[in-house]
């Protein structure tokens, strides 16, 4: 059976490129090196929820049609619309996004990608403050302090810690995996002792702690790679940490500013900040200042809550301050595998990373006005094209409601929630499995995606479908001009 090596996984922004796939009779039968999401995607991409025929809504029901007819209908909807939204793009290739932007310009619509409900606030902040960053390779080899803030890579980027941070074996920094295993064994031992004491001697529970409380974790000043997690919940990632700071919901901004004061050796006149005793914060601030190379990864815990973009302002400023004392970098944990690519391509072609409005004939960018959720909440759009995304499932109900009312074109391999609302549904090939392309990793490194199997008969990649729709729209417009 042929084994394809060095396949890039098209799931999350980590873009692990060491996946090995075993192919049998044109199907993937075994996945090596992948995480649970990677396996689910490579083994389940051809499941019963796959759409295999283009569909059009007739009398309220989706009915099968030809590809030509579906493309013609999609082109008609977009050509007739005054203010269509073109949304998605982070689960497809840069090449498809590029055609999408051309299409948006042609129809005078708003093109937005999923970063608007993800790291959009981070981008706004980076434009204001700037970002000291680097590639993941540098972090893997050199970083001796890792901070995850409002991010749970154990669930969202399962191999991030193993490939790029604490548990990766770097050239100059060793993996902290062994230390973690020892810690877990010690924990299990403690638990056993505790239950034995409970059963044999005492009737009431003993006072020995089984949680990874700051008092129990290995000393923050120990040598080697250290992991700090700051989050509102004790996530799995938090359990791996040398130090976990549990911040109260919506209080990240206060905590970030407190850290900024502490690393400037200022005294805080309070006992607690965001529910955390100041003495713990002092320990964490000490660890940050005394590292050789620190990396702060932040997730949607910062962008989606409380001060939103101002949280990121504070985080970027904290890292800027830390760079006066040591070397520190900061990086957003990008979710979808090519959301970074969608931002990059959009910036090349329009000057702006997301929420680009072509309604005046030239690109305008004003998130809050030209961002898709706001356009939908104001009920301004009169058609929508959704590519490789599921906004009906992921947008707040009020925004999704207007989207479902619009004539809706969906290009997606799966029958997702948005596809069920579609007026025109065009199935596409999975980029990174059935179609090649380029994607950008969260550190802005472009990585090629492989085509490892053939798509089902008659199924085209997103890029080709979009090209055909664009050509059809130009035909319609020419006819209109001639008339």
């Amino acid at each position: 059976m042929p084994v394809v090596k060095a396949v890039t996984c098209p799931v999350c922004g980590s873009l692990c490129d060491d996946i090995e796939l075993t192919i049998e009779n044109g199907r993937i039968v075994k996945v090596k090196n992948g995480c649970a999401m990677c396996e689910a995607k490579f083994l389940g991409y051809c499941c019963e929820h796959r759409v295999l025929k283009p569909m059009i809504r007739k009398d309220g029901e989706l009915v099968k049609t030809s590809l030509k007819e579906a493309i013609r209908r999609a082109a008609e909807i977009l050509a007739e619309a005054n203010y269509p939204v073109l949304y998605g793009w982070s689960n497809t290739s840069c090449e498809a996004t590029s055609v999408g932007i051309e299409l948006a310009e042609e129809v005078g619509g708003v093109i937005d990608n999923t970063s608007v409900v993800c790291h959009g606030p981070s981008i706004l902040s980076i434009q204001d403050v700037g970002i000291p960053s680097c590639t993941l390779g540098q972090i893997r080899h050199r970083a001796d302090l890792i901070v995850y803030w409002g991010s749970n890579p154990w669930s969202a980027h399962p191999r991030h810690i193993e490939r790029y941070t604490s548990f990766s074996e770097g050239r100059f920094e060793k993996s902290a995996w062994r230390g973690y295993v020892t810690k877990i064994k010690a924990l299990v031992g403690r638990k056993k002792i505790q239950s034995a004491i409970k059963r044999l001697v005492l009737k009431k529970p003993s006072q020995i702690s089984t949680h990874l409380e700051p008092t129990f974790v290995s000393p923050i000043m120990r040598k080697g790679r250290k992991l700090i997690v700051i989050d509102v919940r004790r996530t799995k990632t938090a359990e791996m940490a040398d130090f976990f700071v549990q911040v109260e919901p919506n209080k990240d901004y206060e905590l970030l500013q407190a850290f900024r004061a502490l690393i400037r050796d200022q005294e805080l006149a309070v006992d607690k900040v965001a529910g955390v005793p100041v003495e713990y914060l002092e320990d964490v601030a000490d660890a940050m200042v005394s590292c050789d190379f620190g990396a702060l990864f932040f997730g949607l815990g910062l962008t989606m809550s409380g001060a939103k973009l101002r949280n990121i302002d504070a985080a970027l400023s904290l890292v800027r301050d830390l760079n006066m004392r040591t070397k520190f970098i900061i990086m957003p944990m990008r979710g979808h595998f090519n959301v970074t690519g969608a931002n990059t391509v959009s910036t090349w072609q329009t000057g702006y990373p997301y929420a680009v409005d072509f309604s005046l004939g030239y690109p305008r960018y004003n998130p809050g006005e030209t961002s898709v959720v706001d356009v939908l909440l104001r009920k301004e759009s009169d058609a929508a094209l959704i590519v490789a995304s599921d906004p009906v499932s992921n947008f707040p109900h009020k925004a999704a409601e207007h989207l479902a009312e619009n004539p809706l074109i969906v290009i997606d391999p799966h029958m997702n929630v948005t596809a069920q609302m579609a007026d025109v549904l065009i199935p596409s090939a999975f980029v990174g499995i059935e179609a090649a392309g380029t994607a950008y990793r969260m550190d802005h490194v472009p990585i090629p995606l492989k085509k490892v199997v053939n798509p089902p008969r008659g199924i085209l990649p997103d890029e080709e479908i979009l090209r055909r729709i664009l050509a059809e729209i130009r035909k319609i417009k020419k006819k209109q001009e001639a008339a």
Binding site: A36, G60, S155, S305, A400, M421
Partner: protein, 135 residues
Amino acid sequence: MGEKPKLRVTLLTGRTIEQGVGKEHGKSSKEYVESVSVCYMDPEDMKKLGVKDKTNIQVSTAFGSVVVKAQKSLRAPHPSVIFIPYGPWANVIVDPETHGIGMPSFKGIPATVEPAPEKPVLGLKELLELQFRKG
């Protein structure tokens, strides 16, 4: 019979590995639906409300109300904080306000929780029909 107990909480929504795997199986798959129509609660809060693991609760915010299954959080203690994975159920009750920057509030939303043993958790199809009258 007194009034039903109600608990004021802060709602967080986010990614779980089960949701991540479920979405790759397909949005109509059983794995996906089961992974996102739940609400992780602190066991102490569940005691206060008198709800048991895997029983139905109604979560309400200023923006809507939805019935989901309560599940004991393995990530406790997080008193007065509840967690619902991203998905169609969470989106009924998240805050659409973007504060002028395009980003709705998906985390840190004031909410109330009450037991709802007599109300069913809607399936994906019913939920969509109720909300969008399409699909």
